[in-house]
């Protein structure tokens, strides 16, 4: 009896894909449901039947961003020297952010006024934080780092990379500076600060 449905999984993927591209190419203001629906050749109703509304669609982009982040950070292979691993993770963190800057801005800034991450979404974000905690714990237990709460060291490191990447993406860094070089210097100084003396 039903009419053949066109609001299917394929359309869902096309909407998400187009939303991401729209966001990165024309900014948050260009990402309206009318525009999005017109671009993929459907109506705004599709977003409601497939996601439930605009915030729900943005939520998908948010968790997708953390999923990619997570994968990239976990792919960093350990060298046996946890201090060096910490630096490597930091470098991959920046590369991940620069690879999907529009996703990064959804994840960590409030570019999209209609979306606030709920508890579940935030849980997804803290998961991305785990590889960092593991490496730090290893560094402390093996005696490379001074005896401290692993959370403190991990959060400090996260704050550092997040802050630097935010400043870079916001254009707050002095023009013409060697960002990659300064970034690595910062990571190494951070590690030095926690070494057991």
């Amino acid at each position: 009896m039903p009419r053949p449905r066109t609001h299917d999984e394929a359309l869902r993927v096309r909407l998400l894909d187009r939303a991401g591209r729209l966001l990165s190419s024309e900014g948050a203001a260009a990402l309206s449901l009318r525009r999005l629906a017109a671009d993929v050749g459907t109506s705004t109703t599709a977003v409601y039947s497939l996601f439930g509304g605009k915030p729900a669609l943005l939520r998908e982009l948010y968790v997708e961003g953390f999923r990619r982040f997570n994968a990239r950070l976990r792919a960093v292979e350990h060298t046996g020297d946890p201090a060096e691993d910490l630096v490597r993770i930091g470098i991959v963190y920046r590369q991940s952010a620069l690879a999907d800057p529009h996703l990064y801005s959804i994840m960590f800034t409030r570019v999209l006024p209609d979306f606030e991450p709920d508890a579940d979404a935030i849980a997804e974000s803290t998961a991305a934080f785990m590889p960092l905690v593991e490496v730090v714990r290893e560094a402390i237990e093996s005696g490379v780092f001074t005896q401290t709460a692993p959370d403190t060291v991990a959060i400090t490191s996260w704050g550092l990379v997040h802050g630097l990447v935010s400043l870079e993406l916001n254009g707050n860094l002095p023009p013409g500076m060697d960002v990659a070089g300064a970034y690595e210097d910062a990571l190494r100084a951070n590690v030095r600060g926690w070494l057991k003396t």
Copy 2:
């Protein structure tokens, strides 16, 4: 021949004040021109004759935020030990952000979709960055810190405090943790990382 103007300096101040309060108490979504005008007993026209539009009004809040930040950071008195000064500036940075969290979010996140800082506004932001550079330069010249580009150290420190404050304001930090304590530990580790060995 003219009719006495009511769109005057006093109204301008009242609009800015109300906009700030609206933002901090009810969030970015509540800050609409219609609502704002109704609250202070005028019409939306006032915002256009006094500022030029909504983005221009938000710009005023942005520079006001940096002005306060600037004043607070410059008020930190130097102890003679530049390493200690750097820690103190970091602590005041966090206090400033927590004192005006809504202004901080205008300054460093994109809560307000209609506003993007222009070059002049960004220049205002880098001015707030100067006390930091001075202290770092002093630490390097006096031989306390290792020989490095002062910009690198200053930006690292800024990134660290900005990142930690952002994570805190975004609710990304584990609940129940001693934020102030961990924050100070982070500042001291950062300083240690740059000490001349």
